[in-house]
């Protein structure tokens, strides 16, 4: 099975995400936003980071209405896995595939720095290999990374450790849908898959995608 990495106008991290999949021995396929179907044999979909449609209107709003998103929805209904990273997380929230919404950071600025996150819910194929309490060092880089939702109902998968919480409700760094098969997170695991970049903590998530 291969990992489909979506590409919208303004996607920026699609190539890094493909390399991350390859770094764990998986096969990555680039999929164009205007396509109505995913290629055959896709086990997991990655919605990568970037500024799809320039963040205009609301981040992720325009991309979430693209033709490929109907296919992603059907993929989820069939039991497939989806990973949304940063702008991909925003796209999935706008598409209704994940709960809540992403608001501007409490600093009202773009924030790019290494962050530490902790697994809060391991009842998902994405986080099961890590276990609750596992800590990951992964960079964050976003303008609108403050998750707003209802943590008493919604499933929070990852939480920031320390002060780097961006204004997120309950310091949520990543959330799951009800099924646990769709994960969205603001940190960039594809930027943490190489010892030269200072961390390989992101490889676990791509390992799950590659094995799906």
């Amino acid at each position: 099975m291969s990992v489909a990495v979506l590409r919208f106008p303004g996607s920026l991290d699609h190539e890094s995400a493909q390399r991350a999949v390859e770094s764990v021995g998986g096969i990555a396929t680039s999929v164009w936003h205007a396509d109505a179907e995913l290629p055959a044999g896709v086990g997991a979909v990655v919605v990568p980071g970037g500024f799809s449609y320039g963040d205009h209107l609301r981040p992720g709003a325009v991309a979430s209405r693209a033709p490929i998103m109907g296919a992603v929805r059907r993929h989820v209904d069939r039991g497939g896995l989806v990973l949304g990273i940063c702008n991909g997380f925003q796209v999935l929230c706008e598409a209704g595939l994940l709960p809540g919404a992403l608001r501007p950071n409490a600093t009202l600025t773009f924030v790019c720095r290494q962050a530490s996150v902790e697994v809060a819910d391991d009842g998902s194929p994405w986080t099961a290999p890590l276990g609750v309490g596992a800590r990951l060092s992964i960079p964050i880089k976003n303008n609108q990374g403050a998750w707003f939702g209802h943590p008493e109902i919604d499933r929070v998968a990852l939480r920031y450790v320390g002060d780097d919480r961006l204004g997120s409700v309950t310091a949520a760094a990543g959330v799951l849908d009800e099924s646990g098969r769709v994960l969205g997170l603001m940190p960039h695991p594809e930027e943490a898959c190489d010892p030269l970049l200072g961390s390989t903590d992101g490889q676990s998530l791509f390992g799950v995608a590659a094995a799906a």
Binding site: Y53, G54, H56, L57, V62, R65, A66
Partner: protein
């Protein structure tokens, strides 16, 4: 106190990337016949004093609006 509403829009002739993107997305969703989409913002304020509209005009000049690229309109909410 008076409820004052400021509407801030990109100046005529100034590029509005946001408006262009929204226009393109509407077209792709099948909404025909849409043109000249422009995206601005609305600011609401409760203002006291003798001349709240004049005060808000000054706020616009000094902070709320970038006169180089934006136009604005101030009105009192009835």
């Amino acid at each position: 106190m008076t409820r004052v509403v400021v509407t801030v829009m990109p100046k005529a002739g100034v590029l509005d990337p946001q408006g262009q993107t929204v226009e393109g997305a509407l077209g792709r969703l099948g909404f025909g016949g849409v043109s000249d989409v422009r995206v601005g913002k609305r600011i609401e304020l409760e203002v006291g004093g003798d001349d709240p509209l004049a005060a808000v005009h000054e706020m616009c000049e000094r902070l709320l609006v970038n006169a180089l690229i934006e136009d604005y309109d101030v009105r009192a909410e009835s």
